[in-house]
């Protein structure tokens, strides 16, 4: 894809995103005419922050997916499948349950605690899946699934022991129902830093397309790059999880789709995936609010309904291709 075509694609996507976000503002348990929207409490305090949060979470999760797939050289990698999300959720729930929920220098303790546990999860999964210095794609996924189940159990246990059963649904199914401007402010720095790191490491990710050894002979410090990028992916996942619980498959579907459409060059893959992830989450959130209105379906359910079959399809296709 040439630079010019790339710029037009990005511009077009950004435009679609803005339109989708605007339309999404109109829908909810009550439909609002655009003329009545301005000045309404519902818009400013409920729907607007929610739509923005949905978009930010889409960016965080899809970029985590791009990074993990690139650095682990594994097309099935995704923060949810690898158990990073579940690990992060344990950290976030623990921080809330222990009452260690504070804001220091503008940084909330919840995503920080989520990050520590997300890193722990990714470390465990990565180490477990390595056999003789190599990480087999399917082993990595299996390790992730097992760790995910374990972390979800701990998460449920924490919630049961500390009180509110209702919140289990929030964490395990993923939901944007608690969206607020303060949540938006919590995740914005993670989104910006994550996007910056992903974008400026796109040349390393491109070199890694040739394999780790070739990347080394192209001057890439593979170990250092891996540490920085996995940390960035965990940070982004942790931020998303700490405000919206476990939303799966965004990081799997988006990079895959976009790679099929525009090719594997990370310089385009990263910004296009970011925008597409935002768009997907805004659409999924709109659906979650309207499809059974006034009942709200957690967004995680919608993503799992779409994402799990997609994941199975990918697994099957890899088997058929004998990879």
């Amino acid at each position: 894809m040439s630079n010019k075509a790339g710029r037009s694609t990005l511009l077009l996507l950004a435009l679609i995103l803005v339109v989708a976000m605007f339309l999404s503002l109109l829908f909810g348990s009550v439909f609002m005419m655009p003329s009545k929207l301005w000045g309404s409490e519902i818009l400013w305090q409920i729907r607007f922050p929610r739509v923005v949060l949905a978009a930010l979470i889409g960016l965080l999760l899809s970029l985590s997916g791009v990074i993990l797939q690139g650095i682990l050289r594994n097309p099935l990698a995704d923060p949810y499948v690898l158990g990073i999300s579940a690990g992060g959720a344990v950290g976030a729930a623990l921080s809330i349950a222990l009452g260690a929920h504070f804001v220091l220098f503008g940084i909330s303790s919840v995503p920080v605690s989520a990050f520590i546990f997300a890193m722990l999860a990714v470390f465990v999964v990565y180490k477990l899946s390595q056999v003789a210095g190599k990480s087999a794609p399917e082993t990595l996924i299996l390790a992730g699934v097992a760790l995910s189940a374990f972390a979800s159990a701990i998460l449920s246990l924490i919630i049961i022991l500390t009180g509110n059963l209702q919140t289990i649904y929030f964490w395990l199914l993923g939901s944007l129902s608690s969206a607020s401007w303060s949540n938006v402010l919590t995740v914005i720095p993670y989104a910006l830093v994550g996007l910056g790191i992903a974008y400026f490491f796109s040349k390393e990710l491109n070199a890694l397309l040739l394999g780790e050894e070739m990347a080394v002979t192209l001057g890439v410090e593979v170990e250092k790059t891996r540490t920085i990028l996995i940390t960035a992916a965990s940070l982004m996942t942790a931020a998303a999880v700490s405000v919206a619980g476990l939303i799966g498959f965004v990081g799997l579907i988006i990079p895959h789709w976009i790679r099929l459409l525009i090719g594997p060059n990370h310089r385009m893959l990263i910004p296009v995936s970011a925008l597409s992830g935002m768009l997907l989450m805004v659409l999924a959130d709109t659906l979650s609010r309207t499809i059974l209105s006034p009942l709200e379906i957690p967004i995680g359910i919608i993503m799992a309904l779409v994402g799990a079959p997609f994941f199975l399809y990918l697994l099957r296709r890899r088997r058929m291709e004998g990879k």
Binding site: F200, K203, E204, N206, A207, L209, L210, G211, E213, M214, A215, V216, T217, L218, G219, V220, E221, R259, G263, P264, N265, R267
Partner: protein, 257 residues
């Protein structure tokens, strides 16, 4: 000027049983050096140590007056480029995009490819005579075409030393000769080291040969000096006839009786 000086190099995958047991040689600018020897003699291991994929246990590797351990990965990648025996084709890349990856050691953190990079890519594509292929998806190339693209990718690094691991092993004889001719042309202003199984090809195109056996250099010099029935017997335990082409004096043929 010596582009590469290797002295007393000991390296391998097990420090107690090194694969290369003390190699000493040097490569001048403009030389095309062929490394030959039986399977398991350490040809690839020697290449991997020089491109920085394998840490040496003893000895020294000096690349245009810089000891390899004093160069950063990026600095090394600007001086030495490597074409592996089998490079993974990147699904979804065009030829030009793949060749552009060769510019990675020149990219700065906060910027992307500039005019110099585009010039280097166009030049590499021209040198390898693949202009016609440049917008084709790599997955649609034949083995011989892909090998030329892989070499163009390495050439885009503008290396002083181009290293190739068995560049002809997966190709039919037409492409074997084609690739060797291209390599021979490329050695202006740089040096080339390649491993070969085919002694005929190596002695026809290389200016210098190194014969390895069990990790030791058993002969080095011009093809006439290295490819002799005695040396072939020493290295391969094969009785061979070596014939000179009377018209083209330098060409030697190894015949197996």
């Amino acid at each position: 000027m010596n582009v590469l000086e290797v002295e007393g190099l000991v390296c391998g995958y097990n420090p107690k049983k090194p694969t290369i047991k003390g190699a000493t040689f040097s490569v001048k600018e403009g030389e095309f050096v062929g490394i030959v020897g039986p399977n398991g003699s350490g040809k690839t291991t020697l290449l991997r140590a020089i491109v920085g994929l394998l840490e040496k246990d003893q000895g020294s590797i000096v690349i245009s007056n810089h000891r390899i351990e004093n160069l950063t990965r990026r600095e090394l990648a600007r001086r030495v480029a490597f074409v592996p025996q089998l490079m993974e084709p990147v699904d979804g890349f065009t030829v030009r995009e793949l060749v552009l990856l060769g510019r990675t050691p020149y990219f700065e953190r906060f910027s992307f490819e500039n005019a110099d990079d585009h010039d280097a890519v166009s030049w590499a594509i021209e040198e390898l005579q693949i202009e016609k292929l440049k917008d084709r998806p790599i997955t649609e190339l034949s083995g011989g075409e892909f090998q030329r693209v892989a070499i163009a990718r390495a050439l885009a690094q503008e290396p002083q030393l181009l290293m190739l691991d068995e560049p002809t092993s997966h190709l039919d004889i037409r492409y074997q000769v084609n690739i060797c001719k291209l390599l021979k042309r490329l050695r202006n202003h740089r040096s080339i080291i390649a491993t070969f199984h085919d002694l005929n090809l190596a002695s026809r195109f290389c200016s210098q040969l190194i014969l390895l056996k069990n990790g030791e250099l058993i002969a080095r010099g011009t093809p006439e000096e290295v490819v002799t029935p005695e040396n072939i017997w020493k290295a391969y335990r094969i009785k061979a006839l070596v014939k000179n082409d009377n018209e083209k004096k330098k060409t030697r043929y190894v015949l197996l009786p």
